[in-house]
Amino acid sequence: MAKFNINTDISSEELNKSPLRQLWRHFKENHVALVGLWFFIGLTILATLAPVIAPYGVNQQHTDALLLPPSWDDAGDVRFILGTDDLGRDVLSRLINGTTYTFGLAILTALITTLLGVVLGVFAGMSKGVRSSILNHLLDVTLSIPSLLLAIIIIAILGPGLLNTVWAIILALLPQYIHSVRNLVVQELSKDYIIAQWLDGANSWHILSRGIFPNIYEHIVVIFTMSLSTAILDISALGFLKLGAQPPTAEWGAILSENLAFIYLAPWTVALPGILLFFSVLATNLVGDGLRSALKKRKAI
């Protein structure tokens, strides 16, 4: 008796909620991803408030405390929780400030890439015929140049420096981004409801804003997390290669390479920035993965 079928089971009740709510519910179930999200939020706060939180200035030198080990070590000093480097700078303050450079700049980079990538990707996806063919071939060529090599070439043209690194990484990430967005758009364009809209006489803008965007923006967030983790890795890698942030900028990769000479004497100055890098990329990947599986689960209902 269909008409007495009162919705008592969870799955049909679940269907009545908004898609975003459903997504959050699925995401919440994944505790590891949730931890990643908290870590991510924490890093973002740290990146914005770094100078306020840090106990000492970035380049403030304590000549009485050179290469001090972390405070839990016997030789450590409680004033410098994570120890000091060879110039007597507090490692904790430098690492906190480094969040702004490595993590904050990576977010900025990924955001700009998203903006450009979505515009160009939609354009590539919506165009047809020769124009689309040429665009795709151009993309294929740029995709075949390794992203770091492309970034390095751009840095060779612009000269080393943190801001140039950001431009270089944006340009290096862009082809991949355009490619992914284009695929999303093309996939969505071939669906029946879009064809129905075309037949109803909707124009391109209408289809884009009402049909395609509401259906792909969550996937774009997933691509965003992917490019964010690449951006973090690339900024720090270029900093490590001394092509990005120049000392005394407290970028994590630059701190790492600066202290490489003391790897025997002061291993914590090398290990700590690496651990932070690792955790920030891990948090980003966890959020991205959690989001992706939540999207998949919602689709499966």
């Binding site: 294929d140 140049i145 060779a156 890698a237 490590f240 290990a271 690792f278």
Partner: protein, 344 residues
């Protein structure tokens, strides 16, 4: 059918190489400094040399003539000379590229050997503990910066345990004549008395860079194989086979594996781009005398002709590898040939 497909791919290849050459050519004008210096690699050009060089590089002529003369020079192996060493760039590349290639190939091999079985296991035990363990490890591997991993390895294996050497290709004690550029093959080809010791030593030198370099591609392959396998396991013919009562191992090895591994072939070809990128960092850390380290050094020294040559060589190699993998994929998988007809 297959011939037509190959023909189309070759046209695509030519188009890609054309675009790449245009990009490389334009770099001599984009780089800071005088295009004449950047093109020729001669740094202090005297007045009467300048005329001769301008004539050689057709600088007075239209941009099209310059481009064609560039192509002609490239195809003859005249890639200009390096600012830093004042030696022909082409010789540098020929000498250095095999070292990078060797490292990248072993890393690729390692990632195939570990990645694909791990991916299959993970898919076979979907959502059970082997899958969870492999998934966690993949996530950790994805998130490790390659230079940090390399430093940790050096700290542990070289500095703490003293088991493995931390830089170079082979100990300086062993003198190996350069024949192919691949150190292991060179050692086998040479007729020195310390062949065996040198071989062991070279393997020891290779071990750490290969592990570091193969980490990321392994993770990519695990994920890709797992996803591809899971997709195939959802297909109807697998369900039919299951309904007939086949065991899991029969299902996977007889029916699912072949179809699941087809896209993986293509993915392996795409790994070269990642491998070369990571090889650049790995080479710098392990002082591996390859093209990546040379390129990074060229940037420190603002050696523009060298950067240009390196880009051309590396990218050409990657394009060739990608297209070859694509062709292989389509030879094994006839369905993929139809899909690409008329659209990319």
């Amino acid at each position: 059918m297959a011939l037509e497909y190959i023909f189309r791919r070759i046209i695509l290849l030519c188009f890609m190489l054309l675009l790449l050459s245009i990009f490389t050519f334009s770099l001599s004008f984009l780089f800071p400094g005088d295009p004449l210096n950047n093109l020729s690699g001669v740094q202090n050009i005297s007045f009467h040399e300048s005329d001769a060089l301008s004539e050689k590089y057709k600088l007075g002529h239209s941009i099209l003539t310059q481009y064609f003369s560039f192509i002609e020079r490239i195809s003859h192996g005249d890639w200009g000379i390096s600012f830093a060493s004042q030696e022909p760039i082409f010789d540098h590349i020929v000498a250095l590229f095999p070292a990078t290639l060797e490292l990248a190939l072993y890393a690729l091999l390692a990632s195939i050997i570990f990645g694909i079985p791990a991916g299959i296991t993970s898919a076979a035990y979907y959502k059970k503990w082997p899958d969870k363990i492999i998934n966690t490890l993949t996530l950790l591997g994805y998130s490790t910066p390659v230079f940090w991993l390399a430093l940790l390895m050096i700290m542990f294996f070289c500095l703490q345990l003293g088991l493995l050497p931390m830089s170079g290709r082979v100990s300086l004690l062993y003198e190996i004549p350069d024949v192919t550029g691949f150190i292991l093959i060179d050692i086998l080809l040479s007729d020195v008395s310390y062949k065996f010791n040198a071989f062991i030593d070279a393997i020891k030198h290779l071990l750490l860079p290969t592990i570091v370099l193969s980490t990321y591609p392994t993770m990519v392959l695990i994920r890709f194989t797992r996803d591809s396998m899971l997709e195939v396991l959802e297909k109807n013919y697998i369900k039919t086979a299951r309904a007939k009562g086949l065991s899991r191992s029969q299902l996977i090895f007889r029916h699912a594996l072949r179809n699941a591994l087809l896209p993986v072939i293509k993915q392996i070809g795409l790994q070269f781009s990642t491998l070369i990128t990571l090889a650049m960092i790995t080479e710098v850390i392990f002082s591996w005398p390859g093209i990546g380290r040379w390129l990074i050094d060229s940037i420190y020294q603002r050696d523009f002709p060298a950067i240009q040559g390196g880009l051309l060589a590396v990218s050409t190699f990657i394009i060739l590898a990608t297209v070859t993998a694509d062709l292989m994929h389509s030879l094994f998988d006839p369905i993929s040939r139809n899909q690409t007809h008329g659209k990319i």
